[in-house]
Homo-oligomer: 301 residues x 2
Amino acid sequence: MRIGIVGLGLIGGSMAKACGHVEGNEVYGWDIDMSVTGRAIDEGVIRGILEDSLLGTMDLVIIALYPKDTIEYVTKRGDLFRKGGMVVDCGGIKELVCDTLEPFAKGKGFRFLGGHPMAGIEYSGFDHSKWTLFKNASMILTPIEKLGDPELVWVSDFFRSLGFGAIKVTTPQAHDRIIAYSSQLAHVVSSAFVKSPSALEHKGFSAGSFRDLTRVARLNEHMWTELFLENKDNLLHEIDSMIGRLVEYRDALESEDKVMLKSLLREGRERKELLDARQQATVQQEQATGHQEQATGHQEQ
Amino acid sequence: MRIGIVGLGLIGGSMAKACGHVEGNEVYGWDIDMSVTGRAIDEGVIRGILEDSLLGTMDLVIIALYPKDTIEYVTKRGDLFRKGGMVVDCGGIKELVCDTLEPFAKGKGFRFLGGHPMAGIEYSGFDHSKWTLFKNASMILTPIEKLGDPELVWVSDFFRSLGFGAIKVTTPQAHDRIIAYSSQLAHVVSSAFVKSPSALEHKGFSAGSFRDLTRVARLNEHMWTELFLENKDNLLHEIDSMIGRLVEYRDALESEDKVMLKSLLREGRERKELLDARQQATVQQEQATGHQEQATGHQEQ
């Protein structure tokens, strides 16, 4: 399969490397930083530069740019993609991108599919990319127009070949709503947490909880600012809801309401235990069914 | 050395196991749950029950109970501890315990030393205890009356023999102030975070950041309620300060102030990078000096 990768940062670079590990794939790539593209060629990660003139020869184009750059890249090259080919993006918000590009692509005779690989580390750029980044991660797909079964199997098998452990199909709206919590709020909270003046004195006074809470504060503020603004309403709702919950703890503490404080903490523990139990049940079910559920993806539309 | 361990939960059980791994130590233990004490004997973790009548024969007694239980245990047995012996506790707050027990012990002819091992996992109880729990962790000591040099070396060497990588000496007040952030606020935030209704839908939509943020929500609400209430003012200050920072992000987002939002995120990233760099520098310094600084502890009073 001929695959083009646009944007060779952490995600795009890792996609290119993972694609290169599958026999039969021919991978071309492009990055706005030509020194990165050159390094990707030198290191044998890509066969060559994904010039615009090559787009029409690609079975699949994976775009790993920021959302607005993705929209610009695709709309500017609408006539160049292969008719009947597929373009998948990797951005962290989906409604804006899919609402724009899926109908656009349909009009041009190719398929645009919103994608979001649930993998990432607190470092960005090609230097940190690795072919194992997606191992056992979840790949979220957000088609507006339902994927046909053969297409879904094909796409699922492809991403599974890169190491993904689960394919999750949902709507762009549902994606953006849930991701506002599971990823975006987590980054806001970590960033706000690390900025306590007390953090400067923490050395020797911290263990795993501090390390966990602060890890993703080391974020790329350019990317996350864009993602947050493009998911404003969902994220605002989550931040407000988080503040509301923190106020419950502080009020219980201020009034020394031991029963309430214990109850608030118990609710959190029980919620975490429920989530862990569900996770465990899924793993066991997958082991029992030999990943059948995952092999076809779950299309929840 | 004859060592008594009071309370055989996660911390006390791990202390008993770690002490048993050092040649020459004779370890006795006691837990309010006699079945736990019995299991610790059966598994060879302790030689026998730490009856009150044995307290006078112990060189060192380590108390791993909740703070109020620690105060009760020691004050009720004031005349039973060995004159000139040492009693160290392991509780998560220090001012209340040390202000009460250090002068009390002095009057009875033994030394009480506040301690806080910066190790823990999200599970509690003897079943989860392990002799490696303290490996490379920091042991905080909070004497009100400065330790003499030989005493400090002795205590430091002892805890280092259990696997601790650093001995940190500070005041009970400073401990409680910093721990309100580095540990207590981390638990409050994790507990509040996991309770978003969106958490129930996160499966397939989360990666490392979600896992990190929710890990310690699985906490022991009985212990943490007590620790929070006994450190009320410090923790209230940290929660309020956290809420204040979250409000800055939400306001920037609501007004779509891209410059401000990016600046808030950049500050968090830079803070995290600063902390990581300091951590790295400490590790390198320790490697260069062969841990000399740690061997004597740092007494910051």
